[in-house]
Symmetry: C2
Subunit: 329 residues, 2 copies
């Protein structure tokens, strides 16, 4: 049973304790112009300013800290389009472990370089013809290394959830309170972790997930009550959140705690990146800007006029692509 | 005597108390790659993430809070290439005062729009044929409004200095300590305020100012012991820090407390903007990146291996220019 191993609020608070001093307390930013565009009070948790440029370091570090001392020398293996890759590589370096990451051959160069800068070894695969899961499992078996999943793991989920716990505390410090929170969702590790955090810290707040059109697996799964898959071959610029389907664990949590899914277009993701540049002066990558895009472009009526938390989950984007998007391409 | 009215450390701590809740506590960011490029431990105080996109809101708010209630209705007047303009416009809005800003006709559009978004009135002038000081003084006299200088004022200086106080406290919280600090300098309000803050909070730390080639008035003034002017007509992309000469107050403080000046090229400022994008995921404007440029491109030998604080002072740059710079233009 998946439900036996699901993390809870206390796992998120334990993770926050464990990660203290190892990850950054990222700022909450806001701007009147964003409030005006959304028709609500928008508070942005800037996880693009996190170590390695995304929230992924939280879950990765929390997971790697569980590995027994005598197994650390064999290292870790992960597969990822880039942000989890960098999180795992950095966490492994912090703990003195070798890391090998299986990455798609079309991953943004900035993400590949991020892994390599932390001493991670990269094995490329072809998105269309190879299975990254099989490659990673085979290498892990050969090396006796630990395979670190990108979302379907209780320690990953509770680690990512620390972003939500931090967000709630920062709002309270500022005399504010979240009515709603929107977060980008691929596999749903961040979203389900945040939902657990808010269940304990701000029980009235409602958690929504944002995802690109064509990859609206969460929206459809939440509506049908079953895990729904995305059609293979669908493309989006939101590379960080393109997964085939919600995980069993993340869906079990999401089904209980998520208010719903919000679907955005690539054009809306780009517009949100431009808004983050202009009004917040932070760099958001396409997938990282999905929740901000939903807030600015298609905020549901029930959130209008409310305090809406938005997670900008990553900022790893190649300069040339970013420049093209800034200038409206 | 200028020295009679100079602010001190206690003015900076009083300003910090006054500004609590009115300005943002901006984050301190770092990245291994910056340390490697500089050959030192680099800690970046990201004032580009401040309200209005630069530190200027600190001094402006601290200054406007000094205006007696019965004088507030007549409002304030300021002249500025853009960041002080936005700081004054925002501070005036917070206190319910009208604001008119005299801005150069070639100011970046994003800065003009920032002023207007806060309800500020803009009067353009021609950098080459008109005197902004005369225009501003005349309008202030006509309206009975208070003229808010951009640096030559004890409350402006002590307000800007709160960035340094905050930086010192954040470093202490992280178990770190600044050996040196580099900040961009135009008129020197931020730099002299920070120097006062560190004189009290981290007395051993040495404060350096960074400025663009052709506008190295601080470097020459500190060397000669007299206020030196820049040649008229010299251009640089660092629009935020192009002033004719140090102020009398800021120079009196700087002469006593600054370790020296560091001169950077426009190309080095652009390289620092690219580094801030890539490694910190924050948007820095050219002048705002001057200190980071000095750290990465020409760090003096005595700072190598040390803990060096760097202030990125602003992030207000037009998207098209930023895109050109990101792609190496």
């Amino acid at each position: 049973m998946v439900s036996d191993s699901l993390p809870t609020y206390s796992d998120v608070t334990a993770a926050a304790h464990r990660l203290k001093g190892l990850v950054r307390n990222t700022p909450v930013l806001r701007h009147d112009a964003l409030d005006a565009l959304a028709g609500a009070r928008i508070f942005v948790k800037a996880e693009c300013l996190q170590e390695t440029g995304s929230f992924k370091i939280r879950g990765a570090t929390n997971r790697l800290l569980q590995i027994q001392e005598d197994r650390r020398a064999a290292g870790v293996v992960a597969f990822s389009s880039g942000n989890h890759a960098q999180g795992v590589a950095r966490a492994a370096r912090l703990l003195g472990m070798p890391a090998l990451i299986v990455m798609p051959s079309d991953a943004p160069a900035v993400k590949v370089e991020g892994v390599e800068a932390d001493g991670g070894e990269v094995r490329f695969y072809d998105r269309d013809t190879e299975s990254r899961e099989e490659i990673a499992e085979q290498i892990a078996a050969e090396r006796g290394a630990v395979l670190v999943p990108s979302f379907e793991d209780p320690h990953i989920i509770s680690g990512q959830g620390t972003a939500g716990l931090e967000f709630a505390a920062q709002m309270e410090d500022a005399g504010q309170r979240l009515d709603h929170l929107i977060t980008p969702a691929g596999g749903g590790g961040l979203a389900s972790g945040i939902a657990l955090a808010l269940e304990g810290a701000v029980p009235d707040a409602r958690v929504w997930v944002a995802e690109p059109a064509g990859h609206d697996d969460w929206t459809r799964s939440l509506a049908s009550g079953h895990i729904e898959q995305n059609a293979p071959g669908t493309r989006s610029i939101c590379d960080a959140i393109l997964t085939r389907a919600p995980g069993e664990m993340t869906f079990a949590i999401g089904q209980r705690l998520f208010a719903g899914g919000l679907v955005i277009s690539d054009a809306q993701a780009k517009e949100a990146m431009r808004a983050a540049f202009r009004y917040l002066r932070v760099v958001a990558e396409p997938g990282g800007a999905a929740a901000l895009a939903a807030a600015l472009a298609c905020l549901p009526e029930e959130m209008k006029g409310k305090s809406v938390g938005v997670v900008v989950s990553g900022g790893n984007v190649d300069a040339a692509e970013y420049a093209r998007i800034l200038t409206g391409a």
